[in-house]
């Protein structure tokens, strides 16, 4: 007996710098290895449809409840369509996932005003946080770390990434 295990996971950004994610795992038993490719494709379809259908329920959001205006836009940083579903394109960040998570982590841990963080990005780079490229996001992170008293010496910047420079 051959066991095929498939997992599909998706994480999406939500208004107010929040996000949620959902993953589903399925196991399927095969009698012949030749069935693997077909079964794998089937599982992918099933899992993706399942995750996509469920992840649309955004549930609780921290802070103010998102209010939609006539055009279906929220008052936060994200956008919603007329059915209250998130538009993934507007939640995409131009920087890396790791940088995005770090910016959100510093903002949350130090209870920084998100509007001010966005304003800082505007002042320094002429664009909002989500539009910063990786170089700009790195500059913003350094600035936030300094503002929150966490600046590291030059030689220790990449300690997590794998040791000495």
């Amino acid at each position: 007996m051959i066991t095929l295990e498939a997992n599909y996971s998706k994480k999406i950004g939500l208004p107010g710098y929040s996000s949620h994610q959902f993953s589903v795992t399925l196991k399927s038993e095969l009698t012949d290895i030749a069935q693997a490719e077909k079964e794998s494709a089937r599982l992918y379809d099933v899992l993706q449809q399942s995750v996509d259908r469920n992840i649309q329920q955004i549930g609780f959001l921290p802070g103010e409840p998102a209010k939609t205006n006539g055009n279906g836009h929220t008052n936060g940083n994200g956008h919603q369509n007329g059915h209250g579903q998130p538009k993934p394109e507007s939640d995409k960040w131009a920087c890396s996932d790791k940088q995005r998570e770090l910016i959100l982590k510093i903002t949350e841990e130090h209870q920084l005003d998100k509007t001010k963080v966005d304003q800082l990005a505007q002042d320094r780079f002429g664009k909002g946080v989500k539009l910063l490229n990786k170089l700009e996001a790195s500059g913003l992170i350094e600035e936030l770390l300094e503002q929150t008293g966490q600046t590291k010496p030059r030689g220790q910047r990449f300690q997590k990434a794998g040791g000495a420079r």
């Binding site: 002042d123 490229n133 170089l135 990434a161 000495a164 420079r165």
Partner: protein, 273 residues
């Protein structure tokens, strides 16, 4: 694999080499090129040595230049007194440095070099940097290479990458570009990966600590394809060489300032069969 490596890795810290293969930096590549045994002592065995006078000099100069660049980035006015304070504080942050009775002279030299730079720099007081001392990385796994990491001293408005250097002698432009080629090319790769744009140029800003200090600006063109290829080949060699444990010494002029010269002299070739 030679026995030295077996001793250093198999019986020491087996994860060190693997960790070194996951990421790479200009400093590590340059050390790898300079002497693989030095690389072994510094990065695999992680032998630490007291900071040298020259390194402290360079670190403090970099610290002041960083604050000067950050002030422009933050649209703050140029204040020499503030920078002097940064310099004084930075200079005091030291221990175990063997100054050989020359600390006062070196300190004066470092500040004089900075003052000279502030007078002669081609960077205008109102030029807003694109980036100042930012750590960036480039995932090169698509090329079968490690993640390249580095800290960019300064990216000038318009995308010109600047690296600051302190030097005891006036550098020759061609030689300076040749000797710093790996570092400049690493920075180009990092800039392109993190912005999606090609840099507009590269510049070495040398602060020369002669009796009368000098500032030498050496411009370079954006990285060319062959330079990128050469850098990637070097990274390949780095990864493969680490696999093989190519930690062989390279006696030469570089030994003059090497902190591991004593360990090197005792090195028996690593063959204990």
């Amino acid at each position: 694999m030679i026995a030295l490596v077996e001793n250093g890795v198999s019986h020491g810290e087996p994860s060190v080499v693997e960790t070194l293969q996951k990421t790479v930096s200009a400093s590590r590549l340059n050390c790898w090129l300079q002497c693989r045994l030095k690389f072994y002592f510094r990065y695999v065995q992680k032998l630490t040595k007291p900071k040298t006078a020259a390194l402290h000099y360079g670190s403090v100069v970099h610290l002041v230049l960083q604050q000067w660049n950050l002030a422009r980035w933050r649209k703050q006015p140029f204040e020499l007194a503030k920078l002097k304070q940064v310099f004084e504080t930075g200079w005091l942050d030291q221990s175990q440095i063997n100054w050989d009775g020359e600390e006062v002279e070196q300190k004066t030299s470092a500040w004089n070099a900075l003052e000279k730079y502030f007078t002669e720099t081609p960077i205008k007081a109102n030029e807003l940097p694109e980036a100042v001392e930012v750590p960036v990385e480039a995932d090169l796994s698509g090329h079968g290479l490690p993640v390249l990491i580095g800290v960019l001293d300064l990216v000038r408005a318009g995308g010109c990458i600047v690296d600051f250097k302190t030097a005891a002698k006036t550098p020759d432009s061609d030689m300076a570009l040749h000797q710093n080629g790996v570092q400049l090319d690493c920075y180009s790769v990092l800039y392109r990966e993190s912005t999606g744009k090609r840099e507009s140029g590269r510049e070495l800003h040398h602060l020369v600590k002669t009796k009368v200090p000098k500032v030498i600006i050496t411009p370079a063109e954006p990285m060319l394809e062959y330079q990128r290829t050469r850098l990637f080949r070097l990274m390949e060699d780095y990864v493969d060489g680490l696999d093989r444990g190519d930690f062989i010494p390279a006696p030469g002029f570089g030994c003059m300032g090497c902190e591991f010269v004593r360990e090197c002299r005792k090195f028996d070739g690593g063959r204990h069969a």
